[in-house]
Amino acid sequence: MKAPSSRRVVQIGPFHPLLEEPVGFALAVEGETVVDVDARMDYIHKGIEILAQQRTYDMLPILLERICGICSVTHSVCFCNAAEDLLGIDIPPRANYIRTIIGELERVHSHLLWVGLAGHFIGYNTVFMWAWKYREPVCDVFEMLTGHRQNSALPMVGGVRRDIPEKYFPEAQKTLDMVEGKVKMLTDAVLDDPVLKARLKGVGVLTPQEVMDWGVVGPTARASGVDTDVRRDEPYAAYGELDWDVCLTENGDVFDKAVVRLLELQESIKILRQCFDNMPKGDLNLGMLHMPRGEGIGRYEAPRGEDIHYLRSNGTNMPERLKVRAPSYTNVASFKASCLGEKISDVTITLAACDPCYSCTERTAVVRGTDDQPERTFGDLVRLSQAETRRVADEMGRPHDLQLT
């Protein structure tokens, strides 16, 4: 990115001290305010759409699980939805319930992971440790039922490959009870915390119009009051038969995005309980199916939003084209709307708020271009900091100087 004078460019990435994947962001800043964002996505481009053209339909769900570690059920089931749309078939009810169970377990551990990371990004490491601690039992349940902590290799076109053992359902229910209690505790802690409110309210706001313009999906869109959820709009798996609600909030800031996810966690646990209680008996899949010529579109509500797969078949046993659009693709692009005008310290959590499949903190600062900004002395910085503290205290209706007792 070219920097006009009085602008500085802060480079974020490609490797950063946190946990995620390589990605490059260039933030153009004036003073502390971000005026432009540009992203480089080539660090993680692996060309999986071309690999998909060299695999048979039977092998594809296994490959597509490797698109994203945390959305492994998402992509394989979404591909199956696309293939079943092409074939125009319905799959056995037990397979639908198994897909729902693994999908919701994934949503629970993914949202817990996000809550932890969000806490980490704003320096609230207690939340990080708690959320990840309670994520572990969920992964254990996933392992009990499918044999692996994340990559289940269960979905296939026309059903699921294997059964999940019902003898572990009581144990899973017990874990859900525990996790539900902890999620309620986390929700109350977040909703009540004045520090979190001061830090996150009004930061990184996306208006409903911006949500529609940038095609934002999932919890990020629902936090702005845009009512979209593929599970309700185009019910796949067993969602049409279950009782659950779409969680919506109004403000579209980072605080509301956290609230939506915490509420969704409770809905997911509700869905899981119903699945465990009403699990139907019967076939698991329709056997090997011949794929005719044609095209199909599959949609799936991933933890991060709507996932779209477009499948084009030419009658052979390998697809002619498979297009994968992960939800983060549009959510990340919307940084242009949500980050502009924010302070640079708020950008980290704004970037993290849509739960991208990578996230970032500032690691390397490269300053280019000439600098017309006045140099700030130590005294200036102290005065700025005091003014900011006063502003926050006024907003919260607290005295400027907290008395230490």
């Binding site: 060309g47 313009d213 095609g215 979209t228 709009d233 185009e234 579109i297 779209i308 477009y310 659009r325």
Partner: protein, 158 residues
């Protein structure tokens, strides 16, 4: 809104310029000429509430480079697909990023991978191909990984 109802309305408004195929109640495919993309997209944005830009697929077809724009509609199971085919060897298509910013990234990606040029795109630089990557298009049919590695001086096996 139903795919068949929308298909009838589109045919009434645009006649032969938009040939619609409703595969089921929730999937509508509309084949367009490149210059018919803007009027149809404007009409859809006005008349279909909750329409948003989902993604696009580019593929190398026999008759040219095909660009499929997938437009899901909120609160309904409907996905509208606008099909535009640009003739080779110099495929050019009007850019949707002018109308809806969500299309900006995917159009940059399609330019990288298939080599279709979007006229009027606000920032047409590379997105997923590294800057050092040679000017070949991996999703074209004549692309071969082994030959590509040989050309840039890498051994085909690691």
């Amino acid at each position: 809104m139903d795919a068949e109802v929308l298909s009838r309305q589109l045919t009434e408004t645009f006649g032969d310029d938009a040939s619609c195929v409703a595969r089921s109640v929730k999937r509508l495919y509309v084949a367009l000429k490149p210059d018919g993309l803007y009027p149809v997209f404007d009409w859809l944005q006005e008349n279909v509430p909750g329409l948003r830009f989902g993604t696009s697929t580019a593929m190398d077809l026999r008759e040219g480079v095909g660009v499929w724009h997938h437009l899901p509609v909120n609160k309904t199971p409907l996905v509208i697909t606008l099909k535009v085919v640009a003739p080779k060897p110099d495929p050019r298509i009007p850019s949707l990023a002018v109308k809806v910013p969500a299309a900006a990234w995917i159009e940059r990606e399609m330019t990288d991978l298939v080599g279709v040029v979007f006229d009027g795109h606000p920032e047409p630089h590379r997105l997923v191909k590294a800057e050092a990557f040679p000017d070949t298009f991996p999703l074209r049919r004549d692309f071969d990984v082994a030959k590509f590695k040989e050309e840039i001086g890498e051994s085909p096996e690691f």
